[in-house]
């Protein structure tokens, strides 16, 4: 904790933005119970990536006002509702409806000693979140506790100081703690998804938070814009745009909105992913007469050609260790996914199922490659081991599912879903369950999602 305080102090010296300083001062976190249970740090409750995974059943009663000031903004319900919503979004929780609760909330407290866990186990809850808050003018203090109902013990607890506007930040932070306690990983709340919003002939890059909030339009190119890819530090996006006539490759600095042209050879200059160490990008160029995959060293702007085949070679993706590249080639007659070493050697075919497989994306743990493939006339998302085993169909939609992109923890895939004449961005768990729509907009098709690395938003 002391470390964190020091870190905040350091930040203060560097920050120039007064608002940011205020926010950093007023918002920090204290570990309520330092080592409340060995369970919280050691045991991972269940393998949530398993296709046989059963959702955690959890209950969240309204938070208690433990201060002396009146709860004029219905914070009590807002805390419990938004925490419930966040846990639902993770796809790992089944939330029990408040109407089914048996506990007399006027009598029960928010600590283990003041809870009758039988009230919760009898309605099927495995986990219980209780919380309390106090408000004083603009300031808001809240504490959160996660209990194992069956064992009757506390798993993790946190107290947050902040302002009333930061209620959502507190909820997101504690959701991350819950995920860490139950799954061994914090989840991806502090990530964003970039995508292409297409209105008629114009398309631009948009960015949205993992929970579907805070939509921001990043480019205004008044042209066709395609294929966004995040830099490793999350500060830039590469993309291809026709803004100067030819499909050229650009970078945009997201906070400054500054656009720089990186590659403008005759023909295609298609944006590809950044290397895991951030020093290189993959791209597709047709300058030599047909589409080939290249790697560009960003410091020296030097190009190296990786593929040599008269067929179409596109859509490269790095393995997380940067040693291999999966890509699409039509060299066997129809588009299929291939794998090669990062120097272009040792090319081998990965997909054999179906006659149209494209858009590979390598999972962050390196084990799986997701792609889109055509089956029964519809495009669906699949995943497969690097060795070609454990072929798995993840979507079964009637329209078309395209452009899979892994979350940085490898637990979710974002993709675009065409259905009822409209294209939207959806998210599924990596086992194919829990499909939810992330963004859908009237008059705009949302395609080509790209999941960001982890940020420190809050």
């Amino acid at each position: 904790m002391i470390l964190q305080m020091r870190y905040e102090t350091l930040n203060l010296k560097l920050e120039t933005n007064v608002v940011k300083i205020m926010r950093k001062i007023t918002f920090f976190l204290v570990l309520l119970v330092f080592c409340c249970s060995s369970l919280a740090f050691g045991k991972v409750y269940i393998d949530i990536d398993s296709p046989a995974f059963q959702k955690f059943t959890a209950a969240i009663p309204d938070f208690k006002n433990i201060g002396s000031n009146k709860d004029t903004e219905n914070l009590s319900v807002r805390f419990s509702d938004s925490l419930t919503e966040m846990l639902k979004i993770t796809g790992f929780f089944r939330m029990i409806d408040k109407n089914a609760f048996l506990e007399d909330q006027s009598k029960a407290g928010i600590t283990a000693g003041s809870i009758d866990f039988h009230d919760w186990s009898s309605i099927g809850a495995e986990f219980l979140v209780k919380g309390g808050f106090q408000c004083n003018g603009k300031d808001l203090t809240a504490e959160f506790r996660l209990f194992d109902v069956v064992e009757g013990n506390l798993l993790t607890a946190r107290k947050y100081w902040g302002t009333r506007e930061e209620i959502k930040v507190m909820v997101l932070k504690f959701t991350s703690e819950i995920l860490l306690a139950l799954t061994g990983e914090r989840g991806v709340f502090e990530t964003k998804i970039a995508f292409i919003g297409k209105k008629g002939k114009m398309s631009d890059i948009y960015v949205i938070d993992f929970d579907g909030s805070r939509l921001v339009r990043v480019t205004r190119n008044r042209s066709i814009t395609l294929l966004p890819h995040w830099s490793q530090d999350g500060k830039k996006l590469s993309f291809t745009s026709y803004m100067r006539g030819n499909p050229d490759l650009y970078f945009i600095d997201i906070s400054k909105r500054k656009i720089k042209r990186i590659s403008n050879f005759k023909g295609l200059n298609l944006s590809g992913p950044w290397s895991p160490d951030g020093s290189k990008i993959l791209l597709t160029l047709s300058k030599d007469g047909n589409e080939e995959i290249y790697v560009m060293d960003l410091k020296e702007r030097k190009l190296r050609r990786l593929t040599y085949d008269p067929a179409i070679d596109v859509s490269p993706t790095w393995s997380p260790d940067g040693k291999k590249i999966a890509f699409v080639s039509s060299r066997s007659g129809s588009p299929q996914v291939f794998i090669m070493n990062s120097d272009g050697s040792n090319v081998r075919r990965l997909t054999y199922e179906g006659r149209y497989n494209t858009s590979p994306c390598w999972s962050p743990d390196g084990k799986r490659i997701a792609y889109e493939g055509m089956t029964n006339g519809h495009f669906q998302i699949f995943s497969i081991d690097e060795g070609g085993g454990n072929f798995l169909q993840l979507t079964f939609e009637k329209g078309g599912c395209e452009y899979p992109s892994w979350s940085p923890d490898g637990r979710y895939l974002a993709f675009s879903l065409r259905k009822n004449g409209k294209i939207r961005i959806c998210i599924i768990n990596s086992n194919g369950l829990n499909l939810r729509t992330l963004h859908e907009e009237t008059g705009m098709d949302a395609i080509c999602p790209s999941w960001s690395p982890r940020f420190n938003f809050y």
Partner: protein
């Protein structure tokens, strides 16, 4: 596409202006000649002959303009060629259309062509950009074998980004898998 229509439109405008200008000059000439005739008391026969010649010239210019307009219309109406799903090889129908385009281009050597390759919305956008490029190049290569100078032909792929018909069905997809030809009098 719009820009190219504009280019053609402007050309027509310029041509019509120059025509008006030319005929204006001619009329002035006639008046001067008449003055000359009365002053010097010579027979008006020459003047009448010249008048006829000028009228004929005027008529010819009109015909030339009409012909020019026709050529422009032909240029603007270059028929697109269609492709099968995930294919860029030319069908017999496509070859026939390209044959007509080649004949026209060999006759009207002042024109150049931008060949746009397009795809339907299915499949990855990235792969479709490559496929669109192949479709444009297939048409270019065939036109070259038919004798059209390579330097007059430019290719660009728009992948699945600019559908002719934005609907999501087989009919629309068939229309959208195409090469579109933009005929211009000078390279952009």
């Amino acid at each position: 596409m719009k820009r190219n229509i504009k280019i053609i439109g402007m050309l027509i405008l310029v041509l019509s202006f120059s025509f008006i200008f030319m005929s204006g000059c001619a009329k002035e000439q006639v008046v001067k000649d008449e003055k000359l005739v009365t002053e010097e008391g010579k027979a008006a026969v020459t003047a009448t002959g010249e008048k006829e010649a000028l009228l004929k010239e005027e008529e010819e210019a009109k015909t030339a303009l009409k012909e020019r307009e026709l050529v422009m219309q032909e240029a603007a109406a270059f028929e697109a060629i269609r492709f099968d799903f995930d294919k860029y090889d030319l069908s017999p129908e496509a070859r026939e259309i390209l044959g007509e385009h080649a004949d026209w281009l060999l006759k009207h050597t002042e024109f150049e062509v931008i060949i746009e390759g397009h795809c339907d919305e299915r499949g990855s956008g990235e792969y479709n950009l490559a496929l669109g490029e192949r479709r444009a190049e297939a048409a270019r290569d065939y036109l070259v074998t038919l004798g059209v100078d390579n330097g007059r032909l430019t290719t660009i792929s728009y992948g699945e980004e600019l559908p002719l018909d934005p609907s999501h069905n087989e009919d629309a997809w068939a229309k959208n898998r195409r090469d579109h030809f933009v005929v211009v009098t000078e390279k952009k």
